[in-house]
Structures are given as C-alpha cells and as structure tokens.
Symmetry: C2
Subunit: 139 residues, 2 copies
DNA sequence: TTTCTTGCAAAGGCTTTGCACAGTA
DNA sequence: TACTGTGCAAAGCCTTTGCAAGAAA
C-alpha cells in the first residue's frame, strides 16, 4: 500500500471525498522529493487548478499528513509528514531535508514550561546546516 | 541611554547614516510592545514611507538589533533583539512574547550534528503556549 | 559635493476568495 | 438528489523595486 493509499483512507475516514484531483495531487507529491513548494505541486499537476492545490495542501495540513516547513529564507515548503512528531534538518547547500526527533528537545520544552509557567501547546523547530556529502564536496 | 540610542550608535559605527526616518522608526518600535508586524510600524509612523519601513527592518535585522519571529499562523513579526542568542515563547491567547535561552537546546543541536554528520549553521525555534495569567483567566 | 536614503507608485509573488459547474456519496 | 469539491479568474495581502528628489557626512 503506497503512502497515497494511506492518505486516501485518512480522507475517507474523516468524511472527505476522494476526488480525482486529490488523488492526482497525492501522487504528484510522492514524486516531488522530500520537500516542495506549493508552486512545484501546481507545475507538476497540470490538470489541477491552482486554487485546488492550495486548498488541498491546507486540508492535508489540517489532517496532519502534510507538514509545513519554514526554509532558511523564510519561504514556505511542504513535506509529507511521518506519523511521529518530528523536526526538520535541512542542508542549505543541496537542499536535502531529513526528519529527526529528539527526546532531549521534549525535555527542553518541559524545562521552559516549568520556568515560565506556560503550558506549551506547539512549537516550531527547524535546523539548517550542511550535510556530510556537501561538506566533503566543499572541502 | 535608551535602546534607540544604542541602536543609533550601532548604525553609526557600521557606517550607516542617522536619518530622521530611521530615528523615528526606532522610537516607534520602542512603543509597540514586545513584537509587532511590519504594518504596525507603518501605521505608527505616519510620516515614513512603507518602503522605508521594510528597508529599515531588513537593515536592522542584518545588524542583529531586530529579530524576526514566525507566529503560529505562519505570519512574520519583528522584535527588538536582546544581545544573546535566544528563542521566543509566545502566548497564543494574549500575544505576550518572551525570550528564553537554553543550554540544553545547544546540547540537542550537538546531538543532532553527531547523529547526522551535519554541521549546524542556524536554527529556528519558536514555542507557542498559554501563559500563566491566561491559564488562570481561562480556568 | 558626493554618496546614501527616502517617498511615491507601481510591480511582483504568493495565496485566498467568489461563483457557477461538476463529481462524489 | 444533496452537498462537497473544482476550475477559472479576479482580488488581496504583503513585500520589493525603480527612480527622481532630498538629506547626511
């Protein structure tokens, strides 16, 4: 079962309809690499309207199957989300993106909550660097 | 000496001119609370052109006296930056923003670097929650 | 005087909305 | 059939750019 299939089930379970454009976008997103801009999706799905792409991205975000990534320059990209909570590590040279999760980070959040009296509801953590391959190539 | 004075010295030291609009914007930013949108600055500085506000914000960002904050809805705000490296904790209810820094977070980054082989160059960490006062008010 | 800045207005990029038609359940 | 979803085009929002005039050093 492909990731697109899983997502279609999620849509159905939540009462959303399985339409042609939605299926097409799911397939396209699977081919676009680890992260993509809204416009990449528009370009890769010629039969689907721009508005539908944005509406679908938003819907998938709400469903948690797509996550938003803020790039180093502040622009927005999207990514098919793994199930677990995670963060993004992005190579500023080649653009590779990988996920990571960190128990230590959870500890940081707990500590922040303790010190400030806040209840933490959400956070955003993006890390930018240079991957091993790019370091080797650049050296 | 006010914070605006300090910033003016920074500008001068770096070879930037101390102009009327820049002084005006510095004063205005000091009155806008802990964070503000570009448009808030435009509105609060009637004599200064929109373009100048954006140019000045960018300049101040490059100088490190203003930092950019990504709000929970993805929009951008600005904030007068303290000297040290820090992160933002934002109350989603009343909008209060406070800074925090964390040695533990540095440890998290080091661990990520070790596990992935990346050299970390930058990161973005924003935390959203509910402050103690809003919890009390809501309960 | 020379060079950096500014304001205005217009262009730009990206995202959302309105509306009539089409497709799903 | 009833209602959700779609495409198209236009509007919106925020930010940047071009350029001639103005101010700082």
């Amino acid at each position: 079962m492909t990731s697109a299939d899983v997502i279609e089930q999620t849509l159905a379970r939540r009462g959303y309809r399985l339409t042609g454009p939605r299926r097409a976008l799911l397939v396209v997103m699977g081919t676009l690499g680890d992260h993509f801009a809204a416009d990449d999706v528009v370009g890769a799905a010629p039969g689907v309207g721009r508005a539908t792409v944005f509406r679908t991205l938003k819907l998938l975000q709400d469903l948690g199957v797509v996550c938003q990534v803020v790039l180093e320059d502040g622009s927005t990209a999207y990514r098919l989300a793994p199930d677990e909570h995670h963060h993004h590590l992005l190579c500023v040279e080649c653009g590779e993106m990988r996920d990571f999760s960190s128990d230590d980070l959870e500890a940081v959040l707990a500590e922040v909550a303790r010190r400030t009296g806040y209840t933490i509801e959400a956070h955003r953590f993006e890390v930018y660097g240079r991957c091993a391959a790019c370091q080797a190539a650049g050296a």
